[in-house]
Symmetry: C2
């Protein structure tokens, strides 16, 4: 899997992922049914935001975007050393094989025991470290989504706060959101084009 | 003290308060020295944001803006029932009399034992309830600002999370931010002009 900064031209490939995750109504905040133009305005933010895409090979010389991430400073000014992160992973890929992404999938660059969601999350964390962020914050992890919470925990995030009844879940009703946090190691800006 | 929605024409009176609070570098995130045009863009946000001002009489038929607040949905879509709130109170007023605001101050509509900061905070909470918000969240309360933390606690907010080292304090170095939260009672929209 390759993580790179998105170009404007990537939007047509980002939108199906964005739409599919939001339609589920289980992992992120936007209203299911958000139209494409609004979605583009919410996601393709200008600097200091960084929009990332994670792509895998799905054939000879062909790639497919399976995830997208949005990094922004968590706070302006005196708090802009902390990245606020959002990650959307194509549900079709996450649901495929119960989190493992093996032979018959989109490429050969992934170990078969490793989930696409996990690989995408790792790519996002590494990218943020390379940008110079010193910590990463997730503001709205749906507490009822235990698989997602477990993923973040396994990547060294911890729950630093619980926002009670802050998420109107489509069938659970009002559920909690976790605020999750981890510090980041020093990055390695050299190998990336960060422009 | 009267809390009302700000009009564009209030900006010249809001700016000195904004600038003074930000210059201190102790209570909010924006970089000290933020210029007026940037400040206006950060604060005077369009709907669904609500910009409020708190004003007191400072003479016959004359009022003075002593605080300003910004209410936005804490999250879009499925989380927009929670208000994210920011409050800036003129330091000249907060520092006057150690929090009490008595005779010789800006007006006679305040009990002398009651701080301007507290009155402004109460006005903001009431306004958010009247707007229909079900809870209020403060995302970046500087933990080292114990007086401010105590104020919010006394207004029924509790610390639901601590963001470690998330604030580059001008002389303490990196200090924690608290995320604070409270539920709101049902509001009373009738008496206000909420347009």
């Amino acid at each position: 899997m390759r993580t790179r900064r998105a170009a404007e031209g990537d939007w047509p490939a980002i939108w199906p992922v964005w739409e599919a995750v939001v339609a589920e109504g289980e992992t992120c905040m936007w209203a299911p049914g958000t139209d494409e133009q609004s979605a583009r305005g919410l996601w393709m933010l200008p600097a200091p935001a960084h929009v990332l895409v994670m792509e895998v090979e799905d054939g000879p010389g062909s790639t497919r975007i399976v995830a997208t991430a949005l990094l922004t400073p968590s706070q302006p000014g005196l708090g802009d050393h902390v990245a606020l992160a959002q990650l959307l992973v194509d549900p079709a890929v996450v649901n495929f094989g119960g989190g493992a992404f093996g032979p018959g999938g989109y490429g050969t660059d992934l170990a078969s025991s490793r989930g696409v969601g996990r690989a995408a999350a790792e790519g996002m964390v590494d990218y943020a470290a390379d940008l110079g962020y010193r910590a990463m914050q997730l503001n709205s992890v749906v507490a009822a989504n235990t698989r997602l919470v477990a993923l973040w925990r396994s990547l060294a995030f911890r729950v630093i706060g619980t926002l009670p009844a802050a998420y109107r879940h489509p069938w659970h009703g009002d559920v909690d959101l976790y605020v999750m946090h981890r510090f980041l190691p020093p990055g390695n800006p050299a190998p990336r084009v960060l422009a």
